[in-house]
């Protein structure tokens, strides 16, 4: 490697080169003298003939291989020296860069895990989520029955396998206190379909098949470590789930995660069932109890082909079984890539956040470009000197770029380090509703992205000043000596463009932040339809035994007895004024993962023909008599439920205003009768009361019709307690737990919190994105105002002589002030207008994230420019005022 050696032999090379050229000059001079010139002229002529000595040397050096390496190390050393020489500039640049790159790294790591990386299963592209829809009555994702599952597995012919998924909370007993764990029940091919290999033991297979629930369980790595201390002899031990003893047959690998929604956290217990015997209802088409379906397409079958086949099959089934599939429902089957359904509505939020992060790093780099340009004009003399001393322009550009690259890489490294260092801290702020969060990590894709961002920013902010610095003509720059009377117009123009684009991007970020913050504000002020203060809530769940005969909570009378005892004990707790039970806590339903989440249910109304029942569906919420009193929600008409509305008495229902308007727009709903489901043999329920709307599905969801029924007549195993009390939730929690477990020691109590916390949590992801984008916008404004301030301050410094002349010629201080203010205002004006145009064309991308605000909200589009304009005027006022303080005498003398 000669050229490497060359690097070390550079000194001797330099000496040789020098003496070789000097020899040439001496010879030439001698010959010239011999030709009759006088010595002075002879030397001069020789030098002219040869050309620039240093340029030639530089060219000779260029011919050496590996020269670039030498240059690089030279440039790097020089760059480092330059950065050390101006610590303020370096600190600002590195800090802002670290912030920009760090934000990008963090957000991209989430985007990468959630949106980009494919699911961690075998051939994830062939995994689909299966939906059953009834578009005719406006229902999506309805439940399905065992015969329909069989159709998918055999008749459809497009699936290698398909399984229903029953996700939910289960009760793990046997430890010191009952614990709620996440459970998943699938068919016996669930694991083979996903392609999972157990850590120890085995997974389910066809040999385990039973028509009901299998007496075995597979547990997750986390549960294995938590509950069994990672004991390798865990196989064969008994785990109590919902009071049923199950035998542990296998432990899943560490990274495995169930590909579907869970109530909170990851699924830890995996059961399997045949779905055709107790506790499942008789396997007929009308008994639709299965919820989610996941399928694996056969190899070679495209999604479009499969969809076409399924649509055709659904039509055939509708034709073959007209009683099970009423024609007006238009029952059909739909498939979607599993990854898409997992990500769902998180995609727009993440993309907006990534966009904001990229904008901020753009603004950061524009800002640094600006600072560099200011420095570059200060370094014009240095550059001119370098050119005169033989530096080629390419070499100069390269050196400037090396400097900026060095800066951007230092900033980028700082950013990545920040992101890595604060990673777990940042993740805590990410709303838990984001799927696949456990897969978020900083891997090489994320690092490559961060590196790319750093290099790009380095190029963006380095190229402009680099090209600019080598342009200027030599001699004027040398002569001016950096104290010129005015700055070069080219530099000036470029800096103007930078400031204007910086402002424009700031406007975009501010408009986005404004819209998101207004949405959040609207939601915080949204009237939930009840009084959430001084209400404490708790969630609980009754176990479902696999054998119905042993289930203490099997039927409604048994559950009603439990409910009454529960309420009696709750009201007896000192400080609790009122207590009630509901199957759905307000503001939790919009999240399908929430406890008690309810799907829309189809509905029949008496005296109304089924054929006209377009869009007849409502949410059923089961409540105890005092529910509306606890929430202090107004009963508009009729009556509330009473203790007498129990099993065996006529069914009653209470509706809310939305329901009343939708189903009985012209008639009095009181006394009308409704019925859930399509079974015509079931009894009607009479509407006895109307309440004000309660935001049951989330603060941002309006107008879903709700029908309340008495929990003593119709109850479920998931329930929530609402208590009106002046005591805080933390104080009440042990007493609530104690009372519940003295009824049944096997019942877990979870999420004890105040109603305000529940409402607050429902806004977590909106708060997260609004705050983040808001923070970015604030940073953008700060950077933009620094930019304007810096530009004008620099101009004032450069033009102090001109100001002196103007003042000497009679210009008033106001004139000077106005002159600089006008410059700042003009820049701000152009930037803001450009930004507004840009925002107006992109704001609709935010559409799905907004509530109560239109994407072109006039208030936001008015306040943002005014605010930014005020800041810009302020930022230009300070340097402009300094301009008026210029003492003409001093300025002129110095000039």
């Amino acid at each position: 490697m000669n050229w490497l050696l060359d690097l070390f032999r550079r000194n001797s090379h330099e000496r040789c080169l020098d003496s070789e050229l000097r020899f040439h000059l001496e010879q030439q001079t001698r010959d010239n003298i011999a030709a009759g010139m006088n010595p002075e002229v002879a030397r001069r002529q020789a030098a002219i003939d040869l050309g620039g000595l240093e340029q030639i040397k530089e060219e000779c050096r260029d011919t050496r291989r590996g020269a670039w390496l030498g240059y690089l190390s030279q440039d790097l050393r020089f760059g480092l020296r330059m950065l050390r020489k101006s610590p303020t500039f370096t600190t600002i640049a590195v800090l802002t860069l670290a912030l920009g790159v760090g934000a990008n790294t963090a957000i991209f790591s989430i985007v990468n895990a959630v949106l980009l990386r494919s699911l961690p299963y075998r051939d994830p592209d062939r995994l689909v989520r299966i939906f059953f829809n009834e578009p005719g009555v406006g229902l999506r994702d309805v439940k399905f029955s065992k015969p329909e599952l069989d159709d998918l597995q055999t008749r459809a012919g497009v699936f290698e396998d398909a399984t229903p998924i029953a996700e939910g909370s289960e009760i793990l007993t046997g430890a010191e206190k009952p614990e709620r764990v996440e459970g998943v029940n699938g068919s016996f091919s669930y694991f083979s379909m996903l392609g999972v290999i157990p850590q120890i033991g085995r997974l389910y297979g066809p040999q385990d098949f039973t028509p009901g629930f299998a007496p075995e369980a597979v547990i997750s790595d986390s549960l294995w470590r938590r509950a069994y201390g990672a004991d390798p002899n865990v196989l064969g031990r008994t785990i109590w789930i919902d009071n049923d003893p199950l035998t542990i047959i296998g432990v899943l690998p560490r990274g495995f995660r169930h590909p579907g929604p869970t109530v909170s956290g990851d699924a830890e217990v995996f059961g399997a069932a045949g779905f055709s015997a107790d506790p499942f209802p008789q396997p007929i088409r009308g008994n639709r109890v299965l919820k989610n379906g996941i399928g694996r397409l056969k190899p070679g079958v495209t999604r479009e082909q499969a969809q076409a086949r399924l649509t055709a099959m659904a039509a055939q089934l509708r034709h073959d079984f007209p009683t099970d599939y009423p024609p007006q429902a238009q029952w059909t089957i739909e498939i979607q890539p599993l990854q898409d359904t997992l990500v769902g509505n998180v995609r727009p939020m993440l993309l907006v956040l990534l966009g904001a992060a990229i904008l901020i790093v753009f603004i950061v780099s524009l800002n640094i470009a600006n600072l560099l340009l200011a420095r570059a004009s200060g370094r014009q003399q240095e550059m001119a000197l370098r050119l005169a001393l033989g530096a080629s322009r390419g070499r100069m550009v390269r050196q400037m770029l090396t400097e900026s690259m060095l800066l951007s890489l230092i900033g980028g490294a700082a950013g990545i380090a920040t992101a890595v260092g604060t990673f777990s801290f940042i993740l805590r702020f990410v709303p838990p509703g984001v799927p696949r969060l456990n897969e978020v990590r900083i891997d090489w894709v994320v690092l490559a992205f961060a590196l790319l961002i750093s290099i790009l920013t380095g190029l963006v902010f380095g190229l402009a000043p680099a090209l600019n610095s080598t342009k200027g003509a030599l001699s004027p720059a040398l002569r001016e000596g950096g104290r010129g009377s005015g700055s070069g117009t080219k530099t000036g123009r470029m800096r103007d463009v930078l400031i204007v684009s910086e402002l424009a991007f700031a406007v975009v970020l501010m408009v986005g932040a404004g819209l998101l913050l207004r949405t959040l504000g609207n939601l915080l002020q949204e009237n939930p339809g009840f009084n959430p203060t001084q209400v404490v809530t708790a969630n609980m769940q009754l176990a479902t035994r696999n054998d119905p005969k042993t289930d203490p909570y099997l039927n409604i009378p048994r559950r009603a007895t439990f409910d009454r005892e529960l309420l009696r004990r709750m009201k007896a707790i000192p400080g609790v004024e009122l207590a009630a039970i509901t199957s759905a806590l307000p503001a939790t339903n919009s999240n399908p993962n929430a406890v008690g989440g309810l799907a829309n249910e189809s509905l029949a109304i008496e005296d109304r023909p089924v054929e006209s029942s377009q869009d007849l569906h409502a949410e059923r919420i089961r409540i105890s008599p005092d529910y509306f009193k606890v929430l202090q929600s107004a009963l508009l008409r009729g009556r509330s439920f009473t203790e007498g509305d129990e099993d065996g008495k006529p069914l009653v229902a209470i509706i809310d205003e939305s329901t009343a308007h939708r189903f009985w727009p012209t008639r009095d709903p009181l006394g009308r009768r409704v019925r859930f489901g399509r079974d015509p043999t079931k009894p009607w329920a009479t509407v006895v009361g109307i309440v004000k709307d309660i935001k049951s599905d989330g603060l941002d969801i309006d107008g879903v019709p709700h029908i309340y029924v008495s929990t003593y007549q119709d109850s479920s195993k998931r329930l929530s307690l609402v208590l009106r009390t002046s005591l805080p939730a933390t104080l009440l929690e042990p007493q609530i737990r104690n009372e519940i477990q003295s009824i049944d020691p096997g019942l877990p109590v979870f999420n004890v919190s105040s109603m305000n916390e529940v409402l607050d949590r429902s806004l977590a992801s909106r708060r997260f994105s609004a705050n983040l984008v808001g923070g970015f916008a604030g940073l953008a404004v700060l950077l933009a105002s620094i930019g304007i301030y810096g530009l004008l301050a620099y101009m004032v410094g450069q033009r102090s002589r001109e100001i002196g002349i103007r003042m000497a010629l009679g210009a008033q201080r106001d004139d000077i002030l106005r002159m600089f203010l006008r410059k700042g205002v003009a820049l701000a004006g152009v930037g803001i207008v450009a930004g507004l145009v840009f925002s107006a064309s992109t704001a609709s991308m935010l559409g799905s994230l907004l509530y109560g605000v239109r994407p072109h909200d006039p208030a936001v589009f008015l306040i943002v420019p005014l605010l930014l304009f005020t800041i810009a005027v302020l930022a230009s006022y300070l340097p402009a005022r300094r301009a008026t303080k210029v003492n003409p005498m001093i300025a002129l003398r110095e000039g």
Binding site: C16, S19, E20, L21, F23, H24, E26, Q27, Q28, R30, D31, D49, L50, G51, G52, Q55, I56, E59, C60, D62, T63, R64, R65
Partner: protein
């Protein structure tokens, strides 16, 4: 190629090369003196020329260039190429005229 040819005549230093080229080509080809040295260094890097320091006729140390075997081969190749090219051009010119 010109430089190689000149150096082929024996060890010679840079200044003499520039003189020689000017002289031989009867000032028709005036190589910019400044570009001579980068060219020399390039040839040296390609191992077509070797260089050593000797005493010049003036008594000063000077860098003398000599042709290496590789350089000789390169010169032959280039001479051949040049002959072929100039013959071809000559032929074309003669035929056309």
């Amino acid at each position: 190629m010109l430089i190689l040819k000149v150096v082929a005549m024996g060890p010679i230093h840079g200044y003499a090369i520039s003189k020689r080229i000017a002289q031989i080509s009867k000032d028709m080809l005036r190589i910019q003196q400044g570009s001579l040295y980068p060219a020399l260094h390039r040839l040296e890097n390609r191992k077509w020329l070797a260089a050593d320091w000797r005493e010049a006729e003036s008594g000063r140390e000077a860098k003398f260039y000599t042709l290496t075997p590789a350089g000789k081969k390169q010169l032959e190749v280039e001479e051949l190429d040049w002959e072929r090219l100039s013959t071809a051009i000559g032929l074309v010119l003669r035929t056309v005229l």
